[in-house]
């Protein structure tokens, strides 16, 4: 007998309570950087941050933070890892750190952050799917100063997705360039609609969907999906991702977030890249939203798939 279905007995009722208690609360996805299951090779708490200093250079560094070894699997859909880093380099020194997502066997994502001489803040984000694995989000301090790190957040599609829209479905009428492909994707490139042998830059491959989603004030991640036929790995500015909201009081769209995507932000040519862009909806501006993909490179072919919006609780 499944006690969740038959809570008439005491054992059943108790089991039901336990099941209800054990349901993953949204707060479980926020991992305090100063407490287990987050762990550290060096450093100490400093207020809500983890503070790690390493002056010397020439080594492979150390993990200022790692963990939480959260078991995630394909059933959760796409997963977004988030954190906050502040790099405080020593005087006339370059401070570098590698922020990665690791499943115990392979590095799913890695981004290097560095700063010379001046303090800089970064909001690292990675999107990925995984087979059942214990996921870690790690920061390797590569020396040259102090790193302050905020909490690690893990959002997953099955729990945190609040909206999704596809460019050839919900955004079907909202394109300056290109044409539909497949069930819901959109493709823009040379000799496709709106382009000749090259395409006009600063034109919208997609925008809208305006009335969807209805988002209340708070923090979100827009997970765009884009692939290109070339340019991956280069330093070229390929396209820009933007999130805007309609300001009812002023009668204009307000930019909430913008990401000029370079070739080096992509993991390869002809593969789908999940590109997370954080944005915060101000109080009173939960109106119409505009998720834009703006062409910056004239000759690459760009294919866009669905955009998913995750709520950061």
């Amino acid at each position: 007998m499944d006690p969740r279905r038959h809570p008439r007995t005491l054992a059943g009722a108790l089991a039901l309570s336990l099941v209800a208690t054990a349901a993953p609360a949204l707060a479980d996805q926020n991992f305090y950087i100063n407490a287990a299951p987050m762990a550290h090779e060096r450093g100490a708490p400093a207020g809500p941050f983890w503070w790690a200093y390493f002056a010397s250079s020439g080594s492979t560094g150390f993990f200022s933070t790692y963990g939480p070894y959260l078991r995630l699997g394909p059933y959760e859909g796409e997963i977004v890892a988030l954190s906050y880093l502040e790099l405080q380099p020593d005087y006339h020194t370059t401070l570098a750190a590698d922020w990665d997502v690791y499943d115990g066997a392979q590095q799913i994502f890695k981004q290097r952050y560095s700063s010379y001489d001046v303090n800089q803040t970064f909001w690292p984000a990675a999107a990925f799917r995984t087979q059942p694995k214990d996921i870690q989000v790690r920061t390797r301090h590569l020396s040259g100063g102090n790193i302050s790190q905020g909490d690690v957040r893990l959002l997953w599609e099955s729990v945190d997705k609040v909206a999704q829209f596809w460019p050839a479905v919900e955004q079907l009428e909202m394109h300056d360039l290109g044409q539909p492909i497949g069930a819901g994707d959109w493709v823009s490139g040379p000799n496709l609609p709106g382009c000749g042998s090259s395409c006009p830059t600063n034109n919208y491959i997609s925008y809208g969907p305006h009335s969807l989603p209805m988002l209340v004030d708070g923090s979100y991640v827009a997970l765009f999906h884009v692939e290109t036929n070339s340019g991956s790995g280069s330093s070229a500015h390929l396209f820009t991702l933007q999130v805007e909201v309609w300001d009812l009081a002023e009668g204009v769209y307000r930019m909430l977030a913008s990401w000029p995507v370079l070739g080096s932000d992509l993991r390869g040519n002809n593969v789908s890249n999940a590109l997370p862009l954080r944005f915060t909806v101000p109080r009173g501006m939960d109106t119409w939203f505009n998720f834009r993909l703006v062409r910056q490179h004239p000759t690459i072919t760009i294919r866009q798939s669905g955009t998913k919006v995750f709520k950061v609780h």
Partner: protein
């Protein structure tokens, strides 16, 4: 300045001009047309036993826009061959000089056919034509042309709404699913007769009626061949019998694909009663074990 009045009138006219959902063309009336035959009940009946090859039906010369999204054309044909003869019929979907799709039906026994095809606009003179190639009697029902912008009532993505409902394979891109030899759950030889995708098995907010499920799949090999590649099934869970019951089925063959590695829209008609609506299930199951299948969204269109 007369903006207010004309605006109000314009708004009224706009409301009146909203096209009705699920355009149904009466097979016996314009804009459908005929070179042979006559009305027979709700059908159009044509008998040809000589060597002529007339169009028993054609039309409706529909103009559509790109913003209409995907279009689905649907009708039914019944072929009744003359005694001892083999009867053949050509059914096609075309716009001006462009033929999007042509299917040759040939039989020596009474046979019903559910003809459907999906495409994208714009079109200026979309026609759905049936050419009678002699040796029997042909009946045809009304022609439906559904437009995504007006008639789509639900969308399920295999790596989003159906992410937990797969026998083999893995997610790819934002919402697609892929499986083939060497994929998760498959061997190096292939995926057997595994279920690529099923579900979602939850309410999609539909009401009882006739629908078309527009599956989207691509295969890495086999396009153009006569071999069966996979089954598309629309099912519901019969709680009393503790089993799935199939209410729509299409065994897709290589001839249903114009090319390998091209996403192709495949419509399956089904009728759902209220008892089925909370457990509808859209399954893709391998028939040819050695192909690699990539599945994209399934869109549900309402027919009336």
């Amino acid at each position: 300045m007369h903006i207010r009045l004309t605006g109000a009138i314009g708004a009224c006219l706009s409301l009146l001009a909203v096209p009705a959902r699920a355009t149904e063309y009466n097979i016996q009336q314009q804009p459908m047309a005929h070179e042979t035959g006559a009305a027979d009940g709700a059908m159009w009946r044509s008998v040809v036993n000589d060597t002529s090859t007339p169009f028993s039906t054609y039309g409706p010369y529909l103009a559509t826009a790109a913003k209409d999204g995907e279009l689905i054309v649907y009708t039914t044909l019944t072929l009744s061959p003359a005694a001892g003869a083999s009867m053949s019929v050509e059914w096609d979907v075309m716009d001006g000089a462009t033929t999007f799709y042509r299917k040759l039906l040939s039989t020596n026994a009474n046979s019903p056919y559910f003809m459907s095809y999906a495409l994208r606009g714009p079109t200026s003179n979309l026609q759905v034509r049936t050419r009678h190639n002699a040796n029997g009697t042909l009946w045809q029902s009304n022609v439906f042309i559904l437009r995504e912008r007006l008639d789509r009532v639900a969308v399920v993505w295999p790596a989003a709404e159906q992410v937990r409902q797969h026998g083999v394979g893995s997610a790819i891109g934002a919402g697609d699913w892929i499986a083939g030899p060497g994929s998760l759950g498959c061997t190096s030889a292939g995926c057997g007769e595994a279920s690529l995708t099923y579900g979602p098995g939850t309410s999609l907010g539909l009401t009882p009626g006739d629908y078309i499920a527009l599956f989207h799949l691509q295969t890495n090999t086999g396009a153009g061949s006569s071999g069966a590649l996979f089954d598309l099934r629309v099912r519901y869970w019969n709680a009393a019998q503790q089993r799935y019951v199939t209410i729509g089925l299409w065994t897709a063959k290589g001839t249903d694909f114009t090319a390998n590695n091209v996403m192709t829209a495949l419509p399956v008609k089904f009728t759902a009663t209220s008892a089925m609506l909370d457990t509808l299930d859209f399954e893709v199951r391998f028939v040819n074990p050695s192909i690699t299948l990539r599945q994209s969204a399934t869109k549900i269109f309402r027919m009336q």
